[in-house]
Symmetry: C2
Subunit: 601 residues, 2 copies
Amino acid sequence: MASKYIDIDTLRFILYEVHDLQSVLDQPRYKDYDLEAVDLFLNAIKDFSDKELFPYFREMDATPAHFKEGEIIVHPQIREYMKKGGEMGLIGALFDYDIGGMQMPNIVVTASAYIQEAANNQLPGYIGLTLGAAELIVHFGDKFLIETFVPKMLTGDWGGTMCLTEPQAGSSLSDIITTAVPDGDTYKINGQKIFISAGDYQGVKNVVHLVLARIKGAPAGTKGISLFVVPKNRPDSAGNLVSNDVNTLGDFQKMGQRGYCTTHLSFGDKNNCRGWLVGEPHQGLKYMFLMMNSARVSVGRGAAAITMAAYRASLAYAKERPQGRSLTPSGKKDVAKEQTLIINHPDVKRMLLLQKVVTEGALSLILLSARYQDLSTAHPNGEVRDKYLNLLEIITPIAKTYPSEMGAVSVSNGLQILGGYGFCTDFVLQQYHRDIRIFSIYEGTTGIQSLDLLGRKVTMNNGKAVELLLAEIGDCVNEASGYEELAPYAQKLRTKLELVKDVLQFLLPFAKKGEFERFLSDATVFMEFLGNIIIGWLWLDMAIKAQDALRQQDPTYTKDFYDGKIHAMKFYFKYEIPKTKALADILMNSEVLTLRKDVGL
Amino acid sequence: MASKYIDIDTLRFILYEVHDLQSVLDQPRYKDYDLEAVDLFLNAIKDFSDKELFPYFREMDATPAHFKEGEIIVHPQIREYMKKGGEMGLIGALFDYDIGGMQMPNIVVTASAYIQEAANNQLPGYIGLTLGAAELIVHFGDKFLIETFVPKMLTGDWGGTMCLTEPQAGSSLSDIITTAVPDGDTYKINGQKIFISAGDYQGVKNVVHLVLARIKGAPAGTKGISLFVVPKNRPDSAGNLVSNDVNTLGDFQKMGQRGYCTTHLSFGDKNNCRGWLVGEPHQGLKYMFLMMNSARVSVGRGAAAITMAAYRASLAYAKERPQGRSLTPSGKKDVAKEQTLIINHPDVKRMLLLQKVVTEGALSLILLSARYQDLSTAHPNGEVRDKYLNLLEIITPIAKTYPSEMGAVSVSNGLQILGGYGFCTDFVLQQYHRDIRIFSIYEGTTGIQSLDLLGRKVTMNNGKAVELLLAEIGDCVNEASGYEELAPYAQKLRTKLELVKDVLQFLLPFAKKGEFERFLSDATVFMEFLGNIIIGWLWLDMAIKAQDALRQQDPTYTKDFYDGKIHAMKFYFKYEIPKTKALADILMNSEVLTLRKDVGL
């Protein structure tokens, strides 16, 4: 029976064939893994997701996390999930063997998290944040911090969080005012943090917060921010846990992801909250941002997974639900005929194909980013690592944004396929529609990702990253041109590469002239423009791999499977790629309309 | 203080100046109304909405309608609203004086309903459906039906509904199986109806259902459907109300519009449900569809109103919330400076302007449709009426779809402006986001509206409607060309008129060849294409009126107000109109990708 929430064949095809997992496994760090081991692992994850995640998806939404008498009540499965995930090694999967990790490639961990998120997007964050917090300690903390906190986090006994946002600061981290006052070996922490995912919940033994705060007297702005480990319960001199004056003030009630708690924390209400400095003073934001690429790709991954799950649900419905009839050549319908399945209506097929190209395009993008991450750290050659680091830097904001933005469009199309039922809580589509809406806000909104893409990544290292990226796309175009069936699409994509250059030639002079607000005013439009082209490239690449398999009569998947990939690529080039024309038009329009203050709003 | 949910100045400007309300009031039917009377009426509606609708908007969402022990529990304000609305004459506003109506122009009633829907979109449907059901009885029913049912409906004592959808039929009305068996003067009704808005609820004395059913032996398909009045309680021979065997089976729980009940009804479980035939047998669908234009425009109006309310909410937030700083010419931010209001960030301004052009464009479209409706019925000259009927027919599917589809995009942008708060239930944006999602499904999905537009409306009367519509746009283009500031935009729109013709020249031959599935396969894309151009036209028209006011130093509104309209028009032409290029590309692409069955889905 087909899985209800994931197309595992497509995941494998993209992971193994399209992104050539073997080339990642070839790196010395991953020498203990081969394709068979990965396959077994992913099977185990699928099984785990079937049993421990998917069955609780609707239930967790119906019984949201909430604040009651000082604590946050959550679904009991959260503790089960953390415990079992810890036992399976999922929290430490990426870590070195010597600190209890599995030294697994990022791309495999990404595939594993994607499966889990497709099954139930409210659970994996509890592990994801614990992992992220542990990662920060391992990378930048001293031996004491690592030994004290990390082992319990990797077993899932203790949770972890990232505490950035404050009520008055939101996206503007310069304005963080949580304070840290030196006091012996530690610091006294005072302040409030909001929107802290997995910040505290019933049953968790301890939560280790990674908190951005300002040491008294630190410079203003982002250069004065330090990073601290601030556990909910701290070890006293005898090694016993005592309360650390970290107070839970509430749980934000949300439209979606309702099983995933989002807390409001207050540190040091009784002036008895201690934090341990991580690394050097005033380097906190730098440390946080070194982890930010994976955090951002993780958000994109979650959105991509929801997009997949919604696609599966609407596809299953379209294949089961009879309604209406096809048109006869007279333009009429023959009411004496049986109703047809709705998948046979061209408009429904269009919506399903849209979901398919967004779903699988987003998945390919996420795995590509993970591949870049692996090669940028694990490749033995420094130049190669540098190349992939550049590619990772430029692809990250897109990997965060495309699945979040286009995923939401895709899910909405899925809901539409169910008609009135799609809007009803008896059907799952409305939940995906609510859940996915946060992803373009998490970890830097789309607007902020777009400023990062155009303002930082495109211009960094004299444009090296964008040059490398366009070269990668160019290679694919050249390769596809050698296939008769693919050549016309390759040609289309080639013209889009020229269009990217035209757009940049139009925009970059504003930066050179110091007109930065003008340079960046349509950054979000640029994001949509470049994201669309990237997905076109990834589809062309998938079509090449499918063509190869067809030529070689590769029996791994059916002919229909491979044909479907080529068909979807054509769909993408017919229905999605043309948008780039409109977007380039906007970007190269010299009229300035969003910088004036007095626009009658 | 600015209203929280509506920009009443803009409503007045579009109603009075742009759509020239006076020219509607000039019709003999409306001789008792002048601009002053309308203004007083709209003030009263605004006041009514402030007091009776808006305060209950959040509360009704938090306490959804639900089924309990055989009845549907709803918020008590619903009965209050019906009663007070009845007292104010709102239910019968459109009706002739001689049956207790106010003979008010549709365009005024539309403005009134729009204000109410912006205040609280969960309430006006209770009146709207009662009005629609009464209208069907008045137009097609006999004296007995009118006298028995309509007066109590117009006072709001009794509710009314339209019962079309059945579990197995959904959008496919050909497949309705509810039966009607002649039995004396009436018919015995048997069957089930789902998704019946306002179908039954605690406290209502009676509900008058207008039910589509098949008289035994009727032809198959839509040609065998008749229309019946089937009250929840029927008058017995003594004139007392007795139960009519209409049973409430449940209330669909929905993602949004949660205060607005959506019922599942069963007729004749004890074989004791009586219905009165309306008009002739087998003409039911025709009658229903004669009312369908206003039903569809009403749906578009509701979506447009939610779009407005969300825009007001995010605009207010953007004007109050400080966050981040503007870029200096060095490309850096000066952290010593105070934070700026988020409205000053170009990307936030872009999102607000997008909301503005969609909100006000949708409002203009809805009022235009209502104007067409008025002139197509109330104008003394038959040829003029025919012209406006053609225009009404072609604009209706667009008036239903544009506000529903682009309104949802606009609301989502509004949510984005609030960042994380937008996703939290403490803020209203998430409710608008949930509420608006049903509008592209109500009364025929976007796919069905698009088939209607391209398959019926474009081709009807040898293309007369589309010709008239393009001529109207052409007139506006010619007029705008006479204004120096507007001429470049007029020129852009002129090229889009040519593009419409090119697209139709490409598509229509498929219909002529009998390739109807191919002709209509991208109907939804055509809908988006034509809708986009229509809104461009309406913005150009608004800009003309604003320019005139500026030239004449018209003191009705501020200079900033008029400048803002012209600015928004320019924004629309920069950011929205270019999409038509991409859409035309898709429409004129000869590759066929959604008609094949075997596409690997």
